[in-house]
């Protein structure tokens, strides 16, 4: 590889920001202006989880917070709450990343499912406590389940197309040390 680890980290951080912008772009396309009965998965959250578990150094918490807040702003959600919960979820995944590195994919999927469910429940609880109008329950459940189901696909994309893989023993980390 011609690039140093430091430039690789920064280029991957920029790549993640770009990925988020692409997802938001497709969300914002004026294709569907009638109310829908079904919802797609929350790809933003799924990608954030997948990247946090694989390479925590590519998704620093400040960048995650800023991108989630941008998504909150653009997608007409109450700003801050979802961003905060998603950030906490990703951080807890990052902390567990080292333990999950050696277990199979099933363990990872399970822990992501738990985190996604916790974020959704926490979000609804937060809205309920502050007396904000709740989004329809059916759609929320649908979106959560879709996010969980699509997670393996997201991981495959992350792993295969974007080349974000789990650190293996012997890889160099950002400061040039071995992991």
């Amino acid at each position: 590889m011609s690039e140093t680890p430091q430039t690789r980290i920064w280029s991957m951080r920029i790549a993640f920001a770009f990925l988020v912008c692409v997802i938001l772009f497709f969300h914002l396309l004026p294709l569907e202006t009638t109310p829908r009965r079904w919802v797609g998965p929350d790809l933003l959250l799924a990608f954030a989880c997948a990247w946090s578990l694989r390479r925590p150094e590519y998704v620093p918490s400040l960048a995650l917070a800023a991108l989630f807040l941008l998504a909150d702003m653009l997608l007409q959600r109450p700003p801050g709450l979802w961003a905060m919960l998603a950030l906490l979820g990703c951080e807890s995944l990052k902390r567990r990343a080292r333990g999950l590195r050696d277990t199979g994919f099933a363990g990872e999927w399970l822990s992501v499912c738990i985190v996604v469910a916790a974020i959704t429940i926490g979000y609804r609880a937060g809205l309920m406590i502050t007396l904000v109008d709740l989004p329809p329950f059916g759609l929320t459940v649908f979106e959560t389940v879709m996010t969980m189901l699509f997670y393996p696909l997201v991981v495959a994309t992350t792993h295969g197309l974007m080349g974000v893989r789990k650190a293996t023993p012997g890889d160099l980390d950002g400061s040039g040390g071995r992991i």
Binding site: L24, F25, H27, L28, L29, P30, L31, E32, T33, T34, P35, R36, V39, G40, S61, L62, A65, L69, L70, M73, L74, L75, Q76, R77, P78, P79, G80, L81, A83, M84, L87, L88, E91, G126, T130, V132, D133, P135, P136, L139, T140, E143, D173, S175, G176, G177, R178
Partner: protein, 300 residues
Amino acid sequence: MAKDRTSSNEYTGPVRRLLLSVIVLCLLATFLVWRIDSPRVERFRAQITDKFVPSLDWAMAPVTGAINLLKDFQSYQRLAEQNSELRSELRRMQAWKEAALQLEQENARLLDLNNVRLDPRLTYITGVVLADSGSPFRQSVLLNVGARDGVVDGWATMDGIGVVGRISGVGENTARVILLTDASSRIPAVIQPSGQRVIVSGDNSAAPPIEFLEDSDLVRPGHRVVSSGDGGVFPAGLLIGQVALDPAGKLRVRLAADYQRLEFLRVLRHHGTDPVSDTARIIGPQLPPQPVVAQEEVSQ
């Protein structure tokens, strides 16, 4: 090298945790500020959208066009049956067109006879739909007209036929339209011909339900729903749609505007209805203000 890293981890660990808690507190504070002072944060949101979305416009238009083309391609398969459907519809429409022309002439004659002045201030600006809400939980679209064009919160937007929604959130170059189907949309309306006043309140479904209906016996499916202008923020007399009965027996509005394809929207300039400001007075002959003094002056 490995030793270096572990020692640096010992320092970065607590710093990282501190940074994380600061970020989390900031996000929580944002949410609480939004909850307490929503208008200011919403204005901020409109500004962010105003910066972000128009810069993507060059890419959005072709991608939207391409995807719509693909969607249309599916409907080409049913071209033959669609054609025959359209032909029979056209025959029915021609009868209606004849009736409409006659009614238009009659209406013009009557208006002329009555010396009616139509409100000349109801002019409009047409905007192009830039983006939708991006989330299945909210129903709104973003237009490419904004404060620069004099758009003000609360104005009505229509497509060619019916009301689409109202402006809520104006940036410099963009304005957000909350659609009638959004869960936070409430529009005062009147049902013709029975003249009952109702509220059309969106609930994230394609046909918003009718609420606060006094006497449901007077309303039949097919009756027209038009905006009533109650409250003074929304112009009166705009077509919203037709009454329809859903399987659960609830009255809903089948919207007249074509929500499948929202491309160009009219924003109606509305400067509010003039309030009646003076109090009631006795109607009688016009007298001079102080008749006694006036008489004295005359006599001198």
